[in-house]
Every structure is written in C-alpha cells, then in structure tokens.
Assembly symmetry: none
Homo-oligomer: 198 residues x 4
Amino acid sequence: MNGFTRRKEQKKEGVRQAAIVLFKTYGFNKVSINDIAQKAGVSQVTIYNHFGSKDELVHDIVKTVFLSCMEKYRAIIKGDKTFPEKMEIIVFEKTELTSQYHGEWMQTVARSYPQIQQFIENIWMQEVNRLMIDFFAEGKKQGYVNPELSSEALLLYFEILRKGIFASSDLIARTGNSEKLMRDLISLSLYGLVGRKE
Amino acid sequence: MNGFTRRKEQKKEGVRQAAIVLFKTYGFNKVSINDIAQKAGVSQVTIYNHFGSKDELVHDIVKTVFLSCMEKYRAIIKGDKTFPEKMEIIVFEKTELTSQYHGEWMQTVARSYPQIQQFIENIWMQEVNRLMIDFFAEGKKQGYVNPELSSEALLLYFEILRKGIFASSDLIARTGNSEKLMRDLISLSLYGLVGRKE
Amino acid sequence: MNGFTRRKEQKKEGVRQAAIVLFKTYGFNKVSINDIAQKAGVSQVTIYNHFGSKDELVHDIVKTVFLSCMEKYRAIIKGDKTFPEKMEIIVFEKTELTSQYHGEWMQTVARSYPQIQQFIENIWMQEVNRLMIDFFAEGKKQGYVNPELSSEALLLYFEILRKGIFASSDLIARTGNSEKLMRDLISLSLYGLVGRKE
Amino acid sequence: MNGFTRRKEQKKEGVRQAAIVLFKTYGFNKVSINDIAQKAGVSQVTIYNHFGSKDELVHDIVKTVFLSCMEKYRAIIKGDKTFPEKMEIIVFEKTELTSQYHGEWMQTVARSYPQIQQFIENIWMQEVNRLMIDFFAEGKKQGYVNPELSSEALLLYFEILRKGIFASSDLIARTGNSEKLMRDLISLSLYGLVGRKE
DNA sequence: AATGAATGAGGGTTCATTCAT
DNA sequence: GATGAATGAACCCTCATTCAT
C-alpha cells in the first residue's frame, strides 16, 4: 500500500469512525451526511467521492464494523479462558467490542436497508453461528451446558440475553453493579429460575 | 357519548391504528404525517386538529397502547393459569398484545422523546413492577422460583429477557415456532444453561 | 331593532372587539380567524356567517372603528375647550380614542388591502381634514397659529406629530412624564427649535 | 478577498437587496423565503445555507442596513453644512438613505423580533444619541436652538419627528414635494405653531 | 342559526446529492 | 482530489375556508 492509498484509507477510516460515533450518540436517522463531514473534518463531497452515496457509506461501515467485531469474537472463543469466563465476556460484554457493533442504530439500519440486513444475516449465520456452535460443544463437553439443548435454542438464548442486556444497560448501570445482584443474574442464566438442585 | 364524540373518537382511533401499522412496518422515522393521513383516509390537517402535532400524536399513541397493554398484563397475572403458563405468556408473549406494543419503533420513539421515555418508565416501574413482584412471590411459594433470588434480580432478569426477546422478535419469527425450540428456551429460562439436576 | 337583530349585532360587536384587541396585542398578521373566534367565544363558522370572509371582517372593523373615532374627533373639535387644550388632546392623545384606532396593525391592514386604504383616505381626507381645517382657522383667529402657514402643511405636521408620538409612546412612557420634559415638548411644538422671541 | 469569498458576498448582497425590495413593496409578512429566492435568482436552500434561517436573514439585513445608515448619519452631522441644512437632511431625509431603512416593514420586524428591536435600540441609543447631542450643542452655540431646552426633550422631539415623518412617508410622497409645503414644515419645526416673532 | 370536522394551499426548514472551481 | 455553493424533494405545520350535522 503506497502513500497515496494509505492516506486515502486514513481519511475513509476517519469518516467511518465519525459516523459510528454520531450514530451511536444521536441515532441513525438524526445524523446527516453534513454532520458526519463536519465531525470528520472533511467536506460532504469528499464523502461522496470516497463512498459514492449515503447508502454505500452505511453499507461500508456496517461491513467494516461487523468484520472487525467478528474477528474479536473469534479471538475470544478460540482463546484460552475457561468456558464460564468466555460466556461472561460474550454475554455481558465486558469488552467494549459490541458497544460499537450494537446499539439501536444498527437495528434501524438493518431495517432501512434490506440489502444490509441480508449481508448481516449471511455473515452472522455463516460465521458467528459456526463459532458459537463450537463454543456450545465445548461447554457441553465440559459439563457447563445441558447436552439435551439444541444448538439452535442456545444460539437464540444467547442472542436474547445479549440484546436484552444491551437494551437494559441503563437499568443495569443504575443498580450500581451490586455484587449480590450480579451473582443472582449469573445464577439465573446458569441455573434458571428454579435454581440449582444440589 | 353522542354521535359527534363517537365519530370523532372513531376517526382518532383510525389514525392511531394507521400510525401503529405504519410504524411497525416501516419504522418510526420513515413514516410522515402525510403517510399516516393517507393510510387513515383523512387529510393531514385533520390529524393536526385532533392531535395537535406529531409529537402529541406519538405521545397519545404510546399512552393508549401502553395502558391497554398493561391492563392485559394485569389480567394475565391475576388470572387463573398456573405459574409456568403465566410465565410463558408474559415472557414469550404468545398473545398478540405486544405485537402491537413492541417493535423497533417503540425504542426509537423512546429515544427521540425523553418525555415519553419518562412516561413509560414511570408507568412501568410503578405498576408493572408491583405486579411482577407479586408474581414472583407466587412463584416462590409454589416452588417454581428459587427463593434465594432477590426481587430486584428477578425483575432485571425478566426485563432482560423481555427486551431481548422483543429485540430478537424477527429471529424468533423466522424459526417458525418450532416446538422443540420453544421447549428448549423455556427450559433455559427455568433451569438455565446447566439444566435440571434430577 | 328587534330582539333577533339586536342579539345578532351584539355577537358581531363581540367579534369586532375581540379582533381589535388581538390585532393591537399581537399584530394583524399574527392573528388568525381561529384566534378571533376563540377570544370571542364563538365558532369560526359563525364569523363567516356574519361577516363573509376575513377580508370583509377586516373591512367591517376598520369602518366601524374609523367612524366611531371620527365622531369623537368631531366632539373634541366642536367642543368648548380652549384651542391649546384641544390641541393637546388631539396631538398627545390623552383620550384613549386613538389607542384603538391607531396602532401598527392599521398601517399593516391599509397596506395589505388597497380597497381599505382607499376607504380610509376618502373618509379621512373628506371628513377629518375638513374638521382640522376649521380647527386651524380657529387657532389662527385666536393668535395661536401662524397665519402664514398653509392648511396642508399644518395637517401634515399634525399627522407627523400624532404618528411620531404614537410610535414613540414607549419612549415617552419611559421618561416617567417628567414635567420639565413635557413643558419642553409643548414649547417645541408651539415655538419650535428656535424658541420664543419675546 | 479571493474569488470565492467575493462571489459569495455578492450572492448574499443580492439576496439582501431582493429581500429589502420585496419587504418595502409587499410588507414583511407577505414575503416568503421562496419569494426572496426567486427574486434573487437563487434557490431557497441557498438562502438557508448563507443565512441560516429567516430570522437570521432578517437580523442580518437589519444590521447591515442599520450600520450603513448610521454611517451616513455620522457623515452628515460631522460634515460641513450649516446647522439648518443638516437639520433638514436629518429630519426630512432628502437623502435616499432612509428610503431603505425606513418603511413599515422595519416596524413590523422590530415588533416580531424582540431581539432585533433590542439591537436597534442599543445601537441607536448609544451611537445616534451621542451624535445628536453633539449636534444640538452646535445648534445652541450657533443660536439655532433654544438653549433652555434639555437634550432629553430635544432627542425625544427629533425621535417623534423622525418616526412621524417615517410613518407618514406615503402622505408626504403624495404631496409631490411642493416647495411651499416644505418651507412651511421647516418653519413649523424651527418656530413651532406660533411662528417667528420678529 | 351555530358548530365540530375537514381540507387545499402555502410557509419555513432539512436532507442527500450535484455543480463549478 | 478536495471544496464551497447550489438544489429538488420532502417534512412538519398553519391558515382561511367549506362541509355536514
């Protein structure tokens, strides 16, 4: 990659980051191309020159964010931590990874651009699901996961927890991270409502 | 209620329903007052005469939907079904009640209108939480809920599940309601990842 | 005038008064038919039934106000007070008469409705000017007015003073009606900048 | 100032002039941004890009006109003409300066935008009053102004005359600037109603 | 005769996008 | 290649006026 191309890629990355921050802060629909241009310190036209149109910009951002996000997922799952540690990271997102990927704006984008939704689903289903299924197999083998549960249900359950926690993040923050509460929540996801029969 | 008032209320209700359908279908931000007016078969100005502004229309709709939704919640919890049946209904919302209340547009609205968010939280916290705490007590008494879990944690867990399911509603719909999947999901919420130790 | 007609005329008068108050308070362009209807406690349609259209309502109001105003002028000029007293009343408008007739809204109306402007000018030129000319004649005869000045110039001068004072009413109010100031102002209009040569 | 800036300023000035002409011709409230845009030969959005909003456009125009107007005032007062000549120019505004500044639309604007009214009053009070007080001092020294009159009263009198003349500008225009009339008016302001005692 | 309901036309404003330098 | 300037389309909202009861 020569100097020209590198500088160009830097500008594009600057625009992407500016857009992501704004989308997260104000919501997708409230952010105009002009806002992004100002935040990124370039002219609107520059964005058009680089990305073509708003749709293409969005598509590019989603793609970029998604791929990088998936890479981090992979690193976690293939990493050295124990199963419960990995689970905690994935579900409770101690990492900042999904603070970027997630957020209402992604849902809105997916809704507004069927093309993008298609893309996400393809990637997600193909790549992430495969990772997760491996992960569950590991959990079952180590006795952390009920082997009777289908991978499909487990995937969905994780998705639900992940999205629910994300959507409740303000509530959780308001609890002040009380330890008892956190222990209870983890107990709930591990042993359910009924609790552990010893 | 005389003829005038009745017809007026019918028109208002028609507008509300048109708006809800459009919001659910296209997302809140993509729906203009003009769209709603056309769908409802009235003029834009009629909407303004009845509701005052887009904000007030939205507020009115949220209020209406929410109150009716809460009434149904109350009926379920105070009803005659067994604890697990009630839980299933509440969490997985087999009833159509939340098909109306839920939908990405509600999140978007709450995000765009702090006033409405405030309203929702007040109602929810004050009314729904009280109902839920009663519900948990019933569950603990009947042995369905681990008595060591705090009400706070249970509330939060339900909130997470509810929001997560809501946010995953499209995913769930796509599974086609397979029975095995549903059984697994219920198992997960009752006995957690680890599963029942018999 | 029978009961029906009287009641009808009362309603019309109520609408007129409401309109005048609103015009004076908020300016002609900021007042809608709806505002007037609400202030007058009737429906918009009632105004249309009585007056025909906004234009006709305005025309009617201007006509009414103007004629009543002129009647008061006539009473003052034909009254028993001395020339300087009359002058003070007319110019400095101690009476409330012109607080109604005057005001920015009248100018705006005249500007917007050439027909009305025509009407005002005809009445004013024909009636008021005649009154004023008599008044100047009286003043000249009594030695209060320089006989060399043309009636035209005197008319214009009065008009200028009247309008200028009206437009400066807030400034004047802010001076707190200091006596010295008032004496100076009267001296200025009687003896001009140069002052009295004794 | 390079080509860009110059052309931009030209466009802005074109918009300003178009707006002033339209305001003077049709009155402030009857002129829409669209009207101005068409008259100036640009798109509505261009006006928004340059001025931000209708309010800001108006503010900008008033400011521009006012400052240029004040500069001319200063030139007159500090100029070489005799006191009566200066007075005539200032009060009767033979110069075209106030044909621009004046007009009913300015009153309407001041009424509609308290912020602008504030601005005008601040400038006027601080700058113009200082100029006028110097001017009166000159008049008194040269024997043209009764030295017993307070500066306050003189200022108010001028203000009244100025506003009155301004408000009567259509009347004055209709007189066709007859010479006798003008002489009489000047006589009235110099020697008042009573006239010169020789 | 009086009213609540309804509307077409128009106003200010914003946005994604293109033009000209 | 990058920018300031410019725009058509669309949006929320208001107004004078008519319709239906």
